[in-house]
């Protein structure tokens, strides 16, 4: 398998307390958490957030294996960050500080990304679209297509695994025809990917077109006036989750 077992942010239904939270509550909480993790400066703060993450993962009943596998593409970004920081160490000469910074920034990024990825893992795409929709609605006043935008993100998440499978299949087919995807210099490698990218784009456009037609056939016309089978209901747990996140984010300025 080259790609098809990568499932970036695919919904994992476990029916946990986290899954049952209102998507808006999850979005708000994530917003607070992220804005608090970003400015983290020392290992103490980072440990605090790592523990918080562990607690959320535990409550979500999603296994670490599934979480890490789902987040695997992100680790490239982390590796890149790490390498870049090391490189700067090489140029500045201050090895110990830079090494510390490389390790710290990478870890912070890991915590941040894992928090972020918990959102789609615990929220079904359409629900997430609903939540986003309510959050984006104020922007509609300025002509921002909140409905469409939210549905687009939901649909994109829904189709990630399918496109991964397609990509995997195309890579295999081109390798079978003797394509050399992993040889030569950077330019040649990039060029070698055209036989993969072109069919992939054709497939993506075709699918997008078919999906749009199928959605229209089921009466979707931009989402205005849409109701829900399970309307979003703000519950006690949702308030609690947001308050906990705010407190966690705030408490942290105390240290």
């Amino acid at each position: 398998m080259f790609l098809s077992n990568i499932n970036l942010g695919q919904y994992v239904p476990t029916g946990s307390i986290i899954h049952k939270l209102d998507p808006r509550a999850k979005l708000f909480s994530l917003l607070f958490i992220i804005s608090a993790v970003f400015p983290a400066k020392n290992f103490f703060q980072l440990t605090f957030w790592a523990i918080a993450l562990a607690a959320v993962v535990y409550a979500s009943k999603i296994s670490w294996g599934v979480l890490l596998r789902s987040a695997r593409p992100i680790f490239f970004l982390v590796a890149f960050t790490f390498g870049f920081n090391l490189l700067s160490a090489y140029f500045t000469g201050d090895v110990s500080t830079s090494l510390f910074r490389a390790v710290f920034t990478s870890l912070r990024l890991v915590v941040l990304m894992l928090f972020a990825i918990m959102l789609p893992l615990t929220t079904a795409p359409l629900e997430l679209a609903d939540g986003l929709n309510t959050l984006l609605r104020p922007l509609e006043r300025f002509g921002f297509p909140a409905n469409e935008c939210a549905m687009m993100i939901g649909m994109a998440l829904r189709f990630i695994p399918l496109l991964m499978q397609e990509t995997d299949k195309i890579i295999r087919a081109q390798l079978s025809r003797g394509a050399r995807l992993d040889q030569g210099n950077l330019f040649r490698r990039v060029m070698a990917f055209f036989p993969v990218l072109i069919p992939l784009f054709i497939i993506i456009f075709r699918r997008a077109d078919e999906i749009a037609t199928a959605m229209e056939a089921r009466g979707y016309d931009g989402g205005a006036g849409r109701t829900r089978r399970k309307p979003l209901v703000w519950k006690f747990n949702d308030t609690a989750a947001v308050i906990i996140s705010v407190l966690a984010a705030g408490s942290y300025f105390v240290f």
Binding site: R180, R207, R226
Partner: protein, 564 residues
């Protein structure tokens, strides 16, 4: 046309859906018409098949009938009201649609959420949405999957989910565009069962298809035949069967058998219980020649993850110059096995010998291997990327290091193999028909003259004429000494065309042998829905008359009754 006029004269009621000289063209200048002055009607509660080969314009017609695209000329009228005067939402409550690929119709991650999509779009209160979902899920026979994520459904279940999604809009009419084309026989049968029940309850059903299949050959009230954008014939299903062959459609064997016994006035199968059959030696197996071993596979196991084996202790031998068909249910390891043969999957445990040598696993040797063992994936036309057919055909030979005249030869050889003319070389693959694209994709693998060619479901989704072309081509390659390996769902072609059959179950070999010798194992491994019609009929007779052999060929089947 006469037919229509006569019928229309006798009519006084308003049809449910009427199509009035509809024309449509995809290009602006209106030079090539996809649909040309198409007219017909459908009454409420009718089940009508629109038959057409690939490229006949039937999918475009489906979209026009569903009000998803507007015709350039003419109009569609629903219960006396022109479609463009009907409000979008009102129309969506009248006509529901199901398309070919279930994946492209499912919007949600959970079964119930997906079914709810249409009623949600109608702005219904949530309790009513739930009752719509509850009803649709039963109608589509998916109740047992109520709380499942969509990813846990089989292909057939996904298509039934798409059907439920359309039903939940509370529609009066369903338009289905090749709803079973991507499903296995069992999945097809289940969809047909659901449609039959819906039709019984008064649903108007319009089914667009390229072939009337065994599972639904007597379900339609009427048949409309579309060819090159025009209606060339319409009439009752019974009338259709008399004309089917001249209209370019094949009769399912099951239909022929039924008719055979009806003509002979034999009650099938009861009347055959004590019948003494007169056999000419049935399926004596293909002539056995001495062949050398091409692949020898020993104890091959493969796992995608820690838990599940995709292949488990598989042993098999593939002989050169033979055509081997690999059969087995979905998930039996067929695709995983063949992707070992050109080292796309690395051997985890076990051994593979290619021409007596250990199969290379890395480095330049793998590239040479991939030139010698050509692999054609499912729907290979989706992997084309070049601006011209010529460049597409040059891709594999160039990768194999072919240059100048050798390269030219390779391109022409590929083209010749699949029987396309030279004028195709300068054309854009994307502008070709589906069948032609399939041929180009196969040619692009054959261009390097592999000594062994492996094809995964090479006939899937093609018209009968292209299927025949590809089968003839593979037979010719085999006769020229190439080793041909195909994976197929289509037992009928596997039995009739291949020299050897390899039956897989749960990642292991059940049996390997001549088609005539492995029938009983096939019947054990695959469900009756997947058997060829003739085989199913002979099994039926055998139940009450042990003398009757297992036969899969219609002509041979008929011979058994020669003295009646």
């Amino acid at each position: 046309m006469l037919n229509v006029n006569r019928k229309q004269k006798n009519r006084n009621k308003i049809p449910f859906l009427e199509v009035r000289s509809v024309s449509f063209s995809y290009d602006e200048k209106n030079t090539r018409r996809t649909l040309n002055s198409v007219s017909f009607f459908i009454d409420k509660g009718e089940r009508v098949a629109i038959l057409g080969h690939n490229g006949s314009g039937k999918s475009t017609l489906a979209k026009i009938l569903g009000g998803l695209i507007e015709p350039d000329e003419g109009s569609c009228v629903v219960e006396g009201v022109s479609m463009n005067e009907i409000e979008f939402r009102a129309l969506r409550k009248k006509i529901g649609m199901v398309f070919q690929d279930p994946e492209n119709q499912i919007v949600a991650a959970m079964v119930e959420d997906d079914i709810a999509f249409a009623p949600e779009n109608q702005g219904l209160p949530s309790n009513e949405i739930q009752s719509r979902v509850d009803r649709a899920i039963v109608e589509a026979n998916l109740l047992h999957k109520k709380d499942s994520p969509v990813s846990a459904l089989s292909g057939g279940e996904k298509q039934r989910l798409a059907l439920a999604g359309a039903l939940a809009a509370d529609v009066e009419c369903l338009i289905l565009d090749e709803p079973t084309a991507m499903l296995d026989p069992k999945g097809r049968l289940r969809i047909e069962k659901v449609l039959r029940a819906l039709h019984g309850e008064g649903m108007t059903i319009l089914q667009i298809t390229h072939q009337i299949e065994t599972e639904n050959f007597d379900d339609f009230d009427r048949v409309i035949v579309l060819s090159k954008g025009e209606i060339i014939w319409q009439g009752s299903t019974l009338e259709f069967w008399d004309r089917a062959e001249e209209l370019g459609f094949e009769l399912p064997d099951e239909f022929k058998i039924k008719k055979f016994f009806e003509d002979k006035k034999i009650k099938f199968p009861d009347a055959l219980a004590n019948f003494d059959f007169n056999f000419t030696a049935a399926h004596d197996g293909k002539k056995i020649q001495k062949h050398e071993s091409k692949f020898k596979i020993k104890n091959l196991s493969f796992k995608y993850d820690e838990k599940n084996f995709a292949l488990k202790n598989l042993d098999a031998e593939i002989f050169s110059g033979q055509w081997l068909s690999i059969i087995g249910r979905t998930g039996s390891g067929k695709s995983t096995l063949v992707q070992h043969l050109n080292a796309l999957y690395k051997i985890q445990s076990g051994e593979i010998f290619f021409d007596g040598q250990t199969l290379p696993q890395k480095g330049e040797e793998v590239h040479t291997l991939r030139q010698r063992v050509g692999l054609v994936f499912q729907h290979p036309e989706d992997q084309l990327f070049s601006p011209t057919v010529k460049e597409e055909l040059a891709f594999a030979p160039k990768n194999a290091g072919f240059k100048n005249s050798k390269l030219e030869d390779a391109i022409l050889y590929g083209l010749e193999c699949v029987g396309l003319e030279k004028k195709f070389l300068d054309r854009n693959p994307l502008a070709l028909s589906g069948g032609e694209r399939r041929l180009v994709a196969i040619a692009s693998v054959l261009a390097t003259r592999p000594e062994c060619v492996v094809l995964d479901e090479p006939l899937a989704g093609l018209d009968a004429s292209y299927q025949k072309k590809i089968l003839a081509m593979l037979a010719r390659l085999r006769d020229e000494g190439e080793t041909v390996i195909t994976i197929t769902h289509d037992l009928d072609t596997a039995l009739k065309f291949s020299d050897k059959i390899l039956i897989l179950r749960d990642g292991g070999t059940v049996r390997e042998g001549n088609p005539g010798d492995v029938i009983e194992e096939i019947m054990n491994v695959l469900e009756p829905e997947a058997w060829p019609d003739v085989l199913r009929a002979s099994a039926e007779i055998r139940k009450i008359n042990k003398n009757f052999p297992f036969i899969y060929d219609y002509q041979e089947f008929i011979k058994c009754f020669s003295q009646i």
